[in-house]
Symmetry: C2
Subunit: 327 residues, 2 copies
């Protein structure tokens, strides 16, 4: 089968398409014929990771496709079933194996392209809003990078699962319009307004109960100022830098803040399975009924993976970049 790996860690020129054997599913696993694969920032980081040794992995952590073989004890997942899910690696390939307890069965209303755009962003959004952030009904949430993959998913979940008051930040006009359309109450152009001032004014000084922080260092003080008493501040990205040069522990104590760092990809198989199961139960009906939907920015043919990475590294995308293997 065809698959994408790297010749060595580095730039996009290190991406290589190789021919390798179709993987053999182990017990509890499915073999999937991949129809589409989501592109994620973690793929770029893996590509660049100089601590990796040979043999280098096949890239890609989320896919949609059709079940070819079922070695698990879930007899209902018959060959031919349309599914999507998170894999630990190996997504940029014609075939991949996946633990059976980690797939979402796709309804006919959801295409493979949309399906490949669901697992990473919606599971991350669900995990950060609910498992880590403990978002309660009618609470107030600040979602940075609202037009990003996880941002768009989080806005929709916070709107339709929690009836939250949603503040979001973005820069370009079309992103602001889009986040509004997805359900944000306040879409703030961070180049034109101080989001912490908007939050202070609109919440009457209360602040936000949950922050999804993809930005990190450059917004540290503004996020701190925006946090309500007992707020949960989820550290999920460092687009604005990782190093904060002034952190006041007293401020964290007096606001009784909870800060939580997280990465989804390195979580255990059991964690991902439990998260997938809860998401399917609590939220997937909204996708099935097309109340909420993955936002697709572009589809890139399988042979053009370097172009997909280029788009991601240039932050061009609003929504997901999807690699397609369909004919």
């Amino acid at each position: 089968m065809r698959a994408w790996t790297i010749s060595e860690p580095g730039g996009r020129d290190k991406l290589i398409q190789v021919d390798c054997p179709i993987p053999i599913p182990e017990k509890e696993e499915l073999l999937i014929e991949v129809k589409a694969a989501g592109v994620n920032r973690t793929d770029v980081l893996t590509r660049q990771n100089r601590s990796l040794n040979e043999p280098y992995p096949i890239l890609g952590v989320e896919i949609s496709g059709v079940v070819v073989e079922n070695k698990s004890e879930f007899p209902s997942i018959l060959p031919g079933t349309r599914v999507a899910g998170l894999v630990n690696h190996g997504g940029y390939a014609e075939y991949v194996t996946i633990p059976a307890d980690r797939v979402i069965v796709l309804p006919d209303s959801v295409s493979f392209i949309e399906g490949a755009g669901i697992p990473e962003v919606f599971l991350t959004a669900y995990q950060t809003l609910y498992w880590l952030g403990g978002l309660q009904r009618k609470e107030t949430v600040l979602i940075h990078a609202g037009a990003s993959g996880v941002g768009t998913a989080a806005i929709q979940l916070a709107r339709h699962l929690s009836d939250a008051t949603i503040f979001t930040t973005a820069s370009r006009k079309e992103k602001l319009v889009q986040t509004k359309r997805l359900g944000a109450d306040f879409s703030i152009n961070y180049k034109e307004a101080d989001f912490e001032e908007v939050i202070d004014r609109e919440t009457g000084g209360y602040g936000v109960d949950v922050i999804l922080d993809f930005i990190g260092a450059s917004y540290w003080e503004k996020n701190l100022a925006s946090a309500a008493l007992d707020a949960r501040w989820i550290l999920i990205g460092t687009l604005g830098g990782s190093t904060v040069n002034y952190v006041s522990i007293s401020s964290i104590m007096s606001k009784r803040l909870t800060l939580r760092g997280t990465l989804l990809t390195p979580r255990t198989d059991n964690y991902k399975a439990a998260l997938t199961k809860e998401f399917e139960k609590k939220a997937f009906h909204l996708i099935k009924d097309r109340v909420i939907r993955p936002l697709i920015y572009s589809t890139v043919p399988f042979d053009e993976v370097p172009e997909a990475h280029r788009q991601m590294e240039n932050n061009e995308n609003t929504g997901k970049i999807i690699i397609t293997l369909e004919d």
Copy 2:
């Protein structure tokens, strides 16, 4: 009645004993004849707090004593009942009022002096270890300032409620001996050894699941190095400074840490009542049976409150400083 307040915010010379009316209990409150009052760092901070306006409060947030009057719907708390509990202020006085749902009834095996040493340290230790830190049975915990009031309480709770592996730090020899005796597995003299190296060695590189951090800035990097994957790091004091000049968000993310700032005193009455109730149910039998006990450093007569503050400000104490009103 006699009570201690301040002439104005400032040093110990601003402490003044005054004569004022006995407070009148409202609905759901008890009137207590105070027999002993615990001295806490928050009392010193209140004394120094220049944002306070007149009339200045009577100092003191924890007491033991005898019920004089009961205006609540708990008929079992008869006049004459021996109790201890947290008050919002007013503890350094001959009488104080307290919500009835916030007292612990003292068994005969516990003296008033010991009783006044229980609420703040044991409730704080219980809250930080369990409500905020989520300490599980057999997990590993690092308790800084192990010879402090909360430290000694936390060591005993972690030992007898959770069978945890306990690392603790202190400086002087007698403090190290004492923390060992209370149940710490490893009492580390932070002046002679790097605690993060001891933890790394003794846990085989795993680290600790929960950190009770009274120190703050000066131990930031060492605490980070000591934290296990998914650790909960509770920020509860800043004895080593509040300002951290280098914080790596990426490290917090890759270790998936939870950092929680907390202060007990400003919590709501309902929170304190619920915490008191759970502590009484889950842990108080250990105090009653004298398996665990509050550690009393000194008793200071009511007329000598400035001396009690002097001991606290000089960090002289191992365990609680108690003001006594008994004859």
